[in-house]
Amino acid sequence: MYEIMDTDQPNSEDNAHSEEAQPDSPTDRPTTEESPTAPLRPVGFEFTGATGEYFRIWIVNLLLSVVTLGFYWPWAAVRSRRYFHANTRLEGHSFDYLAKPKSLLIGYLVALVFFALYLGAGFFNPFFVYPVLILYGVAAPWMVYKTLRFRSRNTAYRNVRFKFSGRLSDSYTTYLGWAFVVPFTLGLIIPYWAMKKKEYFMDNLQFGKGYFNFKPLAGEYYKYYMLFGAIVFGLYLGIALLAFGVAALFGGGFGAAPIEGDLSPGIMTSMVAGYFLVIVFATGFQQGLWMLLFNYNLSVWSIGKFRFESKMKLFKFLGIAVSNVLASVLTLGLLVPWAKVRMAKYRFENLYVLAPNGELGEHFAAEHEDEGAFGEAATDFMDFEIGL
């Protein structure tokens, strides 16, 4: 419910944190004329959030959301996001999350309507969910576009905002257009598609007047996807027997309330084991692939003279990701705050800006724009809880 800076979800918002800006030069090319030989040195990020503190914030806001039947949720979300922004520091300066709860409310309500439609349709007839899914498919690129704009505009560092300048039509090409190509290529296009989606965000991001550059190679995406594809296929074969147990259960578990339907202990055990195996492997696969690509994406990302580096290690990262999910599930969500702080710490402690002579400087140009009195962007008010 409180999705923050997607410590868990491979996507974009974190990227919005993880960068530094460019000097006053308004060009979008790295310029080396000022100090052509200055060596790049790493400047590290810090994450100063604390588990106990965040736990209190999380549980109090969860309670308030629950007793208001969800209406407090936007306030809770802002608080949670602000916590993660404010505790992310670069050269001692923290990030700002500027969104106002009321701005989140609209996106939240739209999402609720979709969800209600989906549940309602599936309730009457499983086939009715398809029109809802199609509607969602058509709306999704617009939602992605709005969300990227919203989150970028509402993230600031040193009083300079980020900005997402991607076009809506590109969002449709990227998120919807490529989807139609997938079946004709037997899915072989998926790694390339994943790269295009990242590119849509990372190449269209601005910090003040500075433009980010994202120059990935499709070959690297294919390499990581193939590596993980091979691992998953091997594991899949290995646990096929367990899957049989689960399938047998589904074979017997339809219909409304059979008079005699106790699940046999064998099926129960294999179902529980299957559940945890699926969670462990799905997390491992999704997160592991995400991490490798994150490290890679950062290495081909730049703004002005600045480059980036993420030094996360695969097995260390997987250990954290998998134990986070298991701990959260086994404690019915109680350890979610611990898991999120732990993951954010690991990610930011391994994240660096590579700056000439290790100096970030502080002369970043900002755009003068139509902003509300207290810094809230006046133009955007849409944010969706979607995995980008």
Binding site: D6, L64, R158, G255, E260, D262, L263, M268, Q286, S328
Partner: protein
């Protein structure tokens, strides 16, 4: 007059300056930045709500941002600066372990009460408002799924049909005036050796029985008892109610574990199943009692229901964990519930 130091950024500029802020008792602020003194009235700035030990930020209407780690000083002027009262309260709550623990208890209590009372009451209300045409659609799609994915073949055994249909008509007769008009009762018999002896009801009134079930029953009364149990599921709309309840439970479980993002739904499935199986137990007991009551009234007696239960459970091994998660209560628990009925 309260004074504190920090750093300030001018509008849309990343350059930081050492700065000083002076707050008057009337909430007016003077900002000293470089050689300049800027005055702001109470409506020209906003103190960002306190959030843990993160630096405090003041935003000014002209785009200036001031940041300080002097929590103590800002704390002293908390009462008269311009900021959100709601968020001050929230921060007060967030900074106390006792409140956090209270919230934890509150969340669990609310969750428990909502799942125990809220969801079932809501589901019951909605279930009876559902038009029969929708129930028919749910029934048909269940049967389609069953025939497509389960090893269900329609039964052609005349002997089985005669035996079952006689009991079905008798059960309908016993149901009598308790029957609501909208439900269209119909018996369908399937040959499904993999499923074994079983009978179940679908929301519109279709009752499905397997050949094995019909053959297992030793007396017609036992079969009548089971059919009445299935009628109860229809009359009380347990099928539709459990669909709605399961949706609600899944939603709540996803919200609780939703922080795990795309894994949220999957991670929520097992806890949701555990809760759903508790709902299902309640429905089974209710159906048993409904059936038992009509059997008593019709002169057959509650014994037939108990015999049928024992017959159907004979081949099931019970262990602790199965009992916890099973879709049906222990045979003992159900028999005891029926005993209670017989004593009345």
């Amino acid at each position: 007059m309260i004074e504190f130091c920090g750093i300030a950024y001018r509008r849309s500029s990343s350059r930081s300056f050492d700065a000083k802020v002076r707050v008057s008792e009337r909430g007016e602020v003077i900002l000293a930045i470089e050689d300049e003194l800027i005055e702001y009235s109470k409506s020209e700035y906003e103190v960002e709500p306190k959030l843990g030990v993160a630096s405090r930020v003041i935003r000014f209407a002209d785009g200036v941002r001031f940041e300080t780690d002097d929590h103590a000083a800002l704390g002293r002027c908390e009462a008269f600066v311009s900021q959100s009262r709601l968020m001050r309260l929230v921060d007060w709550m967030e900074s106390r372990w006792l409140v956090a623990l209270g919230s934890l208890v509150g969340v669990f209590a609310f969750g428990f009460l909502f799942l125990t009372y809220g969801v079932p009451v809501l589901a019951k209300y909605v279930a009876f408002e559902v038009p029969q045409s929708i129930r028919r659609a749910i029934t048909e799609s269940s049967i389609d799924a069953m025939e497509a994915y389960g090893s269900f073949e329609e039964s052609y055994s005349m002997k089985v049909h005669r035996k079952a249909e006689g009991a079905f008509e008798r059960a309908l007769g016993l149901l009598g005036e308790e029957r609501r008009e909208e439900f269209e009762y119909e018996l369908r018999i399937y040959d499904a050796p993999e499923v074994g002896p079983n009978a179940f009801a679908l929301p519109s009134g279709v009752v499905i029985a397997t050949e094995d079930f019909v053959e297992l029953c030793e007396t017609e009364e036992q079969m009548v008892a089971v059919f009445l149990h299935e009628f109860a599921h229809v009359e009380l709309q347990h099928g539709v109610r459990s669909l709605i309840q399961d949706g609600g439970v899944f939603l709540i479980a996803s919200l609780a574990l939703g922080d795990l993002s795309s894994l949220g739904g999957m991670a929520a499935s097992l806890p949701a199943l555990a809760i759903e199986s508790r709902y299902s137990r309640t429905f089974e007991i209710d159906a048993d009692l409904f059936s038992g009551r009509i059997l008593e009234k019709g002169g057959i007696g509650v014994e037939a229901m108990k015999e049928a239960l024992v017959l159907l459970h004979m081949d099931t091994v019970e262990i602790g964990f199965t009992q916890f998660l099973s879709t049906h209560p222990d045979i003992e628990e159900r028999l005891e519930a029926l005993d209670g009925l017989g004593e009345d």
